[in-house]
Amino acid sequence: MRSLLLSLALISPLFAAPTQEEFYLREEIPLPKGEVMEIGSIALMPDQKVAVTTRRGDLWICEGAYADDLSKVKWTLAHRGLHEPLGMFYQDGSLILTQRPEVSKLTDTNNDGKIDSFETICADWGINGDYHEYAFGSTPDKDGNVWVVLCLTGSFNANSPWRGWCVRITPEGEMIPTCSGIRSPGGIGFNAEGDTFYTDNQGVWNGSSSLKWLKPGTFQGNPTGNIFYPDQTAIEPLKNQPKDGSRITTERERIPKFMPPAVVLPHGKVGQSPTAIIHDHTDGKFGPFANQVLVGEQTHSEVQRVFLEKVNGIYQGAVIKYLSGFEAGIIPMRLSDDGTLFIGGSNRGWASRGSKPFTFERVRSTGKTPFEILEMRAKPDGFELTFTEAVDPASIKPDSFSMAAWTYIYQSKYGSPEVDQATPVIKSATVSPDGKSARLIVDGLVKGHVHHLISNGVRSSKGSELWHKDAYYTLNEIPD
């Protein structure tokens, strides 16, 4: 009772709930009139040009997307007739695209603004005409390889070679099968350390959508594509086959190569269809979340923020909601060095909360720092939180927090309910001397579970509540 009264008292009318507009400016970038711009990939080019491709297969170059006055943007059509590109970057005067059937290098050799050279770098994976056999491609890794994740046929079957796999394409065009176990990806990218991640969507063998680490040689959980292990030699096939109706934590004991999702994006609660992956490399130009991973969300038209850490050699961490209100379902994202986030989207075939059929938008920081959980780290006996601003020490106490935990059935059925619910108890909460972090001692951590921390009572030293109070930490490993 006392805590209820206290927390009621804390919701003082002096402090309105924080809103996105205080911290970030979201703007729609005008599109060429009469064109259907269902944007599937974005590449940042020199001289502040931005290239976009559409699901219909057009390539456009936008000038003026960085300017204060967006009404003056200029669009140039560089080509029509590509095959659903879902990955693009600029390199040495060319654009490297991951199209549905291939990775290709597109060049305007005579500088007339039109692409006139289409060089196929690699087309070694299979497509059979099924609409769902999408291919999402990354920017180059440190060795120049493009990572491509290959969706299952119809999102259920492996009816064409290398469906359900991640492959790397070397600059010379060689295809290196890298990970099995993929279902239906929505995007691929790197964290600040240069490790590769992709998003996989809720469905068969995926209880919830999640962000997964593509450590070469690992198995990502969906066994459908495992039929292609014999077609390569670098990776040993799995010795044990996954058991239907199990738990990922249990299966990891049986299948050492099983890489659990780094961060589960709880279905419905956080999103329904994760897409693009980037990290904030701008060192403060896009707000206080330097080096953290940003994940696009198609259905909810949002961007989520992910804090990652490695425990016992495995990535895990927390997802926290971040940006919202986009006009269509987000597919690609790119963040420029100056801190401009570009997002493109479409909702054709898959609905989104943003109700426009397609969109191109940019987001910039207003310079005001939101009061947020910056990091959430696992500890042997609980969690450590850091904040973007100093907290009011009085607000760091067990009553300010609550926690729930659950996991999902690892099964061949589509999705999973939340199961094995647990209620970890926050026994103590202590604030650091600088007021920027808090240590939670938690009873009843469960290995493998999503731990949902709700921080309703936390206040900044200025009295502000958190912009986002919910954090979802996937505890693959409990640190020693």
Binding site: V36, R55, R56, G57, H79, R80, G81, L82, H83, E84, Q99, R100, P101, E102, S104, K105, K114, I115, D116, S117, F118, E119, T120, A123, I127, N128, G129, Y131, H132, Q202, G203, V204, G207, H267, G268, K269, Q272, T299, H300, N347, R348, G349, W350, A351, S352, R353, S355, P357, I409, Q411, S412, K413, Y414, G415, S416, P417
Partner: protein
């Protein structure tokens, strides 16, 4: 004493609430259908049940799919639904959707499904009796072995949608006449062999039983709610006629099959009107359909037991892709008749081709319109789409670089080692015309076509760069397979099927086999050229 008692009671009450609260929370969650719907369903079906993005996704509000038996709704949620379905929307009474609803049976618990369906089946104008937990449990058990999503047609066959409106034709009776006629007889002069009451109020030939040749007349009344012009559409095998208030509205004369539908209009006042339908069957198949359209009738009202095949709007809008003036259009989707990696090229002037990057050949040639993107650019875009134009010729449907050990040996497609095929892309030249580049083993090939509009064809030049070490032995090029091939009158020219010919310029002579035209390649180190001139006849 009293005070302490009250305190004690309060303490007990508090304990009671605290100890029960997890239960209360979970049951209230399980029963909050609206919250669950918002969380799991509303992204596609929209918070107002009208289908997201102005009905781009199927509406649930007033959807006949939710009515009647609960099993249909439960099965859709448990196992998902795909394939074409028809759902009436505010704008289109026959709207066709071809999307995918993923199965939710693995993600949602039975109580959650009950809560969601009871919310959906009783919101936005829907009114249905509540679903009980037991019904979901039973459905889940009965279809536990099912691993695939329902196809729309399959589901409707198992759980048909019945309309619960009153019979369309009131007081309908049918009379069956025995006889054999080649045109509609004057039934008023004939004696019926049998008379039936048609309680469903639908025109049906079921009561003719196994008769091979017969006549039928139906009589009843239709209720008209609003005065205005009404259209009756009749189709039959063989002939038929419809009379309203004894006035002929439309007629299908003589013998013939279905697909000869005729429509007639008549002005009707509010109230009951007499309807009479006459029909005769001479031999073979038999059927009759009738539909009515008019003021306030959104979807054509079915008056026959067999559903009328009324011409519907296109499944997707037409989005023509045309080459720009003095330019070239490209399409890389799934072109029907070629392979998934085919590249459509539309030359300005109405000559088009599909180059297969899988098989390394022009597989299709066609004239006039290039392509329509509407199929692939609407919804998820499932399936292949054929070229938009006409006179399509399919030249080959296999890898065209291969080896032949002798003139009668089986064709061996180039694939491995020194004949591995590798598509390398294309460069655009004048008027954006593409030159395709590919490799066959150590051979580097460029392949460019020039449309010849006056002669209605293309000239294709294949340049093969062979290394000094020489080309693979027995290398051949399949010019055409699958069509009848005949040598034409002029030299090195062959007829490919009925409306195409090819003239081959090469240093070797082509080999004609059963439905195969094969060119042996005698390659020298350096550049070699083969020219193929394709022309429509």
């Amino acid at each position: 004493m009293l005070i302490s008692n009250q305190g004690h009671l309060r303490h007990i009450a508090l304990l009671f609430i605290v100890s029960l609260s997890p239960l209360l929370v979970s049951s209230s969650v399980a029963e909050d259908g609206k919250a669950l719907y918002t969380l799991y369903c509303s992204a596609c079906h929209a918070p107002d049940g009208k289908g997201a993005n102005n009905g781009a996704f199927p509406p649930l509000a007033k959807s006949p799919w939710l009515g009647g038996t609960a099993d249909r709704s439960i099965q859709i949620v448990l196992h998902g639904l795909q394939g074409e379905i028809e759902v009436p929307t505010d704008k289109d009474p026959n709207k066709i959707y071809n999307l995918v609803m993923p199965p939710q049976g693995g993600a949602l618990t039975d109580p959650q499904i009950v809560a969601i369906l009871n919310y959906v089946r009783n919101s936005w104008g829907n009114k249905n009796k509540p679903i009980l937990l037991n019904e979901v449990v039973k459905n889940r058990r009965a279809t536990a072995a099912r691993t695939s999503m329902w196809q729309g047609k399959e589901l409707l066959k198992k759980y048909p949608i019945h309309s619960n409106t009153p019979p369309p034709i009131e007081g309908l009776i049918s009379k069956v006449y025995h006889g054999s006629w080649k045109k509609r007889p004057d039934f008023s002069k004939l004696e019926p062999k049998a008379t039936y009451e048609e309680h469903k109020g639908l025109i049906s030939i079921a009561n003719a039983g196994n008769l091979k040749s017969f006549g039928m007349v139906w009589e009843g009344q239709i209720a008209i709610a609003r005065k205005g012009n009404y259209t009756f559409t009749l189709d039959s095998d063989d002939g038929s006629a419809i009379y309203i208030d004894d006035k002929l509205v439309t007629e299908i004369k003589g013998l013939g099959g279905m697909g000869r539908a005729k429509s007639g209009k008549t002005k009707l006042s509010k109230g009951l009107h007499d309807i009479r339908v006459e029909y005769f069957e001479f031999s073979g198949e038999e059927a009759i359909t009738l539909a009515m359209q008019g003021p306030g009738i959104k979807s054509p009202l079915q008056l026959s037991a067999v559903k009328p095949n009324i011409k519907k709007g296109p499944r997707w809008p037409s989005i023509p892709i045309d080459p720009p003036v003095n330019g070239t259009a490209f399409y890389r989707g799934f072109i029907d008749g070629s392979t998934p990696r085919s590249i459509g090229v539309g030359y300005h002037g109405g000559i088009n081709l599909a180059f297969s990057a899988d098989n390394l050949n022009i597989e299709l040639l066609w004239q006039e319109r290039f392509y329509d993107g509407g199929h692939h650019w609407t919804g998820r875009g499932q399936g292949n789409e054929p070229p938009a134009g006409k006179n399509t010729v399919k030249l080959t449907s296999m890898p065209v670089w291969g080896t032949l050990d002798s003139a009668t040996a089986a064709w061996q497609a180039a694939d491995q080692g020194e004949t591995k095929r590798r598509f390398r892309g294309y460069q655009l030249g004048e008027n954006d015309r593409p030159t395709f580049n590919y490799e066959v083993g150590s051979l580097k090939v460029s392949d460019v076509s020039t449309p010849e509009f006056d002669t209605k064809g293309i000239t294709r030049t294949i340049t093969i760069d062979a290394p000094s070490s020489g080309a693979p032995e027995n290398l051949h090029l399949m010019i055409c397979n699958g069509l009848d091939i005949k040598a034409a009158d002029s030299a090195h020219t062959y007829l490919l099927g009925n409306n195409m010919q090819v003239e081959i310029s090469s240093n070797s002579s082509a080999l004609v086999r059963s439905k195969e035209l094969i060119l042996p390649l005698q390659l020298k180190p350096g550049k070699n050229q083969v020219t193929l001139r394709y022309q429509w006849k």
